[in-house]
């Protein structure tokens, strides 16, 4: 694979062909915020917080850096007034769902997001899909999936698969930027606890 040179925030960055802008930026120590990104998973572009400005043919366009492949002579900006505005609004929307989400707090400070801009509709999930994708792509179990659609979309553990697979894994818990995943899991546990297939928690 060939090597390409691009400019990120006025800094010359060398990257391998096939890398994404996000990977190139991180390799050069340039920080781009992400919420739904995970090294082991395919780009998902759900949270859109990694949005950057890409200059091409004299125009600047917005794109998610986690999915945008690098190109030779590419010019990227990771900070601008417009990007701050976009990220702030995204954060404010996510805060209406998950006001206390751990990973949002730092970004809220950084981008000056207003916690009360949108009415609270706490579902405690920001639909990053990390748990769903990790379970499908890495573990290949599909124990947790998205169900329903649009504003009603939510994560749901499949009882049968979860009771077989989840106790010994639970690797998705630490990926969750909010507490929603654990809550959903505990709910499933409660629903299945009377079935004999469910063992008692080892350290309980």
């Amino acid at each position: 694979m060939g090597e390409v040179t691009l400019t990120i925030d006025n800094k010359e960055v060398k990257a391998e062909e096939g890398m994404t802008v996000l990977e190139a930026a991180r390799s050069a120590g340039i920080k781009i915020p992400t919420l739904c990104h995970h090294e082991k998973l395919e780009p998902y572009t759900a949270c859109r917080i990694c949005m950057v400005e890409v200059e091409s043919r004299g125009r600047s366009e917005l794109d998610t850096s986690c999915s945008r492949p690098v190109k030779d002579n590419m010019v990227v900006r990771t900070q601008s007034e417009e990007l701050t505005e976009i990220r702030r609004t995204l954060l404010e929307l996510m805060l209406s769902h998950a006001p206390d989400a751990r990973e949002l707090q730092e970004l809220v400070e950084e981008y000056g997001a207003n916690r009360n801009r949108f009415a609270k509709e706490p579902s405690f999930c920001i639909h990053c899909g990390l748990c769903v994708r990790y379970c499908a792509e890495v573990k290949k179990k599909n124990a947790v999936v998205f169900v329903k659609s649009g504003v009603r979309r939510e994560i749901s553990f499949n009882k049968e698969i979860a009771s077989r697979e989840c106790w010994k894994c639970r690797e998705c818990f630490e990926l969750c930027p909010t507490e929603a995943l654990q809550t959903a899991y505990l709910l499933t546990e409660a629903l299945t606890s009377d079935s004999s297939s469910f063992e008692l928690e080892p350290d309980a």
């Binding site: 124990a143 947790v144 999936v145 169900v147 329903k148 659609s149 499949n158 698969i161």
Partner: protein
Amino acid sequence: MDNDKIGQIIDKYQGEASSLIQILLDIQHENHWLPRSALEVVSKKLNLPLSKVQQTATFYKAFSVVPIGRHEIHVCKGTACHVNGAQDLLEEVEEVTGIKPGETDPDAKFSLKTVNCLGRCGLGPVIEIDGKTHARMSPAEISDALKKYE
């Protein structure tokens, strides 16, 4: 719905997992809704995780994972129907069937839904029962019409 019938539908699509939506649509058409037992059969026969089948079945509005009655009533709430008295009509239907939009009665006889426009705005207020259009309905007329359904 028995498993043989589901098996026939799946065979029609050569058991291809890529035909999942089509298979679910056919089952929904036969049975009016998708019981969990049917989803389990589909999952097994197509060799797809049940969670994935559930994901698809809950995603589309065309599918229902809760019981739907033998007769589906769609009351149009489009602008033209609305100004011609759709609300009175809806209230009459609720009164006769004893259910609200989105519900099914305990005998699984009727399911009631409101829809945004059926595209027959000149015939308002319009009610569709099992796909059959009832045009320019008055509350009294719809009350009589509903009594004919078993």
